[in-house]
Symmetry: C2
Subunit: 411 residues, 2 copies
Amino acid sequence: MKQSQLFTKTQKNAPKDEVSLNAQLLIRGGFINKEMAGVYSILPLGLRVIDKISDIVRDEMNKTGGVEMQSTALQKKEVWEKTNRWDDKIVDNWFKTTLKNGTELGLGFTHEEPMSNLMTSFISSYKDLPIYVYDIRTVFRNEARAKSGIMRGREFFWKALYSFSKNKEEHDVYYEKAKIAYKNIFDRIGLGNKTFLTFASGGTFSKYSHEFQTISDSGEDIIYIDKEKNIAVNKEVCNDGVLKDLGLEKKNLIEKKAIEVGNIFSLSYKFSEPFHLKYRDEKGEEQFVYMGSYGLGISRLMGTITEINNDEKGIVWPEAVAPFQVHLLSLSQNEEAQKIYIALVKNSIEVLYDDREISAGEKFADSDLIGIPYRIVVSKKSLENGGVEIKKRNEKESKIIKIEDITKEIK
Amino acid sequence: MKQSQLFTKTQKNAPKDEVSLNAQLLIRGGFINKEMAGVYSILPLGLRVIDKISDIVRDEMNKTGGVEMQSTALQKKEVWEKTNRWDDKIVDNWFKTTLKNGTELGLGFTHEEPMSNLMTSFISSYKDLPIYVYDIRTVFRNEARAKSGIMRGREFFWKALYSFSKNKEEHDVYYEKAKIAYKNIFDRIGLGNKTFLTFASGGTFSKYSHEFQTISDSGEDIIYIDKEKNIAVNKEVCNDGVLKDLGLEKKNLIEKKAIEVGNIFSLSYKFSEPFHLKYRDEKGEEQFVYMGSYGLGISRLMGTITEINNDEKGIVWPEAVAPFQVHLLSLSQNEEAQKIYIALVKNSIEVLYDDREISAGEKFADSDLIGIPYRIVVSKKSLENGGVEIKKRNEKESKIIKIEDITKEIK
């Protein structure tokens, strides 16, 4: 894409009321726009990142046998009353609205209830199970305070997968598969070495749930990590009994602030009972479906990646989620740069081509702020030296390479 | 995809309160689920159709120079008060909600206001223009009655592009480009020969707007078509003055019911004035930005395609938007069918493979209802006759072809 076609501009400063680093950098780079506290529109550069993250998530969910659908935002009171989660006193972050006839509706903050309800239409026999269904959609949470940029939004992208299994044994096999899928996701988007499987409260229906916590000073959670065993425990549940249960020793634990980027739960019969979600087993006997839920904050991942990958000049995107692979800067050499642009696009390389008539200094500053992995500069000097100047965003040194070697250098 | 992995099942009957043909067929086929009147979740088969339509729309919008972003559902009162469209007495289909601190918010039913507001951050000079920005997202409309299935939803997928031009001349060039892009979309999704560019009310800011109306008895609009000139006039504006203005004659017009699938508007300065959306021209003088808006109902298109392409057995999807290209039915020949399935997938052919243990009759009925363009049957008989039986959904005759000829036959 030509930068002249991209309507966003970088900004020297983020809005004064924006206190979080992730939103500051993403706003300054032109990835998001703050509509109000906790509500950000996703601008073209940001949408490319969100799409990259979503596609990786999709791929890993599909590999586990997941099937994608799209649930609705508008939610019916009757469905949520079945689990006693309609009442604002019990769930404190509902957005509610009303139909013209006065019927009260909610905006989905999660989808266990409608998914369980939906499955009553499709599950009747053991032959229908297991089912793994997910959606990637906007959810709404009426946060009293929204100060963490896109890490705790009132409207944000969220992936949720729900599993429907015949029994605990079948569920447990999938639950372990999901853990691996999540690990793959964090590895692929560049957060693998900072993200820990973390034991957390299981609620009334299961001993533990599992969170995926990424170490960061901007995190709202405290976790205790056993680096040797590569697992962690959320402070909320970290007591002597739990440590003993998990075979961990206090002296081996390191305390860290962390961002909860995902969580997975064994739901057992918590939802299938109120919805009468049953199937007939091979003996013809009715059994409740055993459920699990697997959440992942897509917008929050973009925020987390930004919090972790930046320097004083701007964002440093990991290649897999960068909005483009190459930032091509023409320093008054648009004729030559245009040729390189076309050649790279033909080679399926995603290029942001800065064809604007602004100073070299502005182009360099913009490029560092936006943080695309490879910067290629076409200047009079580079051409005299036999090609283009190429530099990785996360390295200091640049080098001159021949124009015909660019594709090889990048791939 | 294996059909055993797809959790949806076809249904003999749609819900009794579902009066529209499109929703009846889409529910029975397992494409959508009715959550409440006007609110449908999109099931895996339906999501594949929505994605196909969206990708075609995206491609045509990109070709006009459009850049994609993602606006928000939650809307700020102050932004809409600028154009006097916040008041429920003026806009009668708002869904409203409130933050915990009592601040009233709206759910976007369209996005002219937030887009104009956004652009004040990015437009300052003539060098910034033109800008063409679009999003494909869920919008919310609080319809008093929602009886047309997914053709008039309370929550639905909608594409909106907004154009920002230096002046009317620049705008007019893009407006004509948009007309062509829309024509391309309707041609590509198989509605081309039934969809007419239709003159409609322009409001206070422009003489006419243009609708794209698809002829269908289930349509809510009446249009008058001049087949020779390949244009139409909406009944709402069809009077002697307008006909004269457009050079049309009453005797050449045919009255038809039609579905409004898209509309494009010249907005002139209607939004740029209240938002002070201005730029400095080459002489340094301030000018208002000239705007246009270009809407398209993505969910409504799925409904329209369904209304038009069906027979007594079910849906007949046009190839470009079908959830899969091939429906592979194994009649107790899963070993052979599995090999064919793998070979087709390897050849990048999208296959729904019915590997379930149900009767041949049920498989045929399901296949006709779901409406995938090619049906391939692997049976003992077909194998004895030297291959598989292939039949197009919109043709009566089937034929036997060799297994190695399948790919050639389809592509």
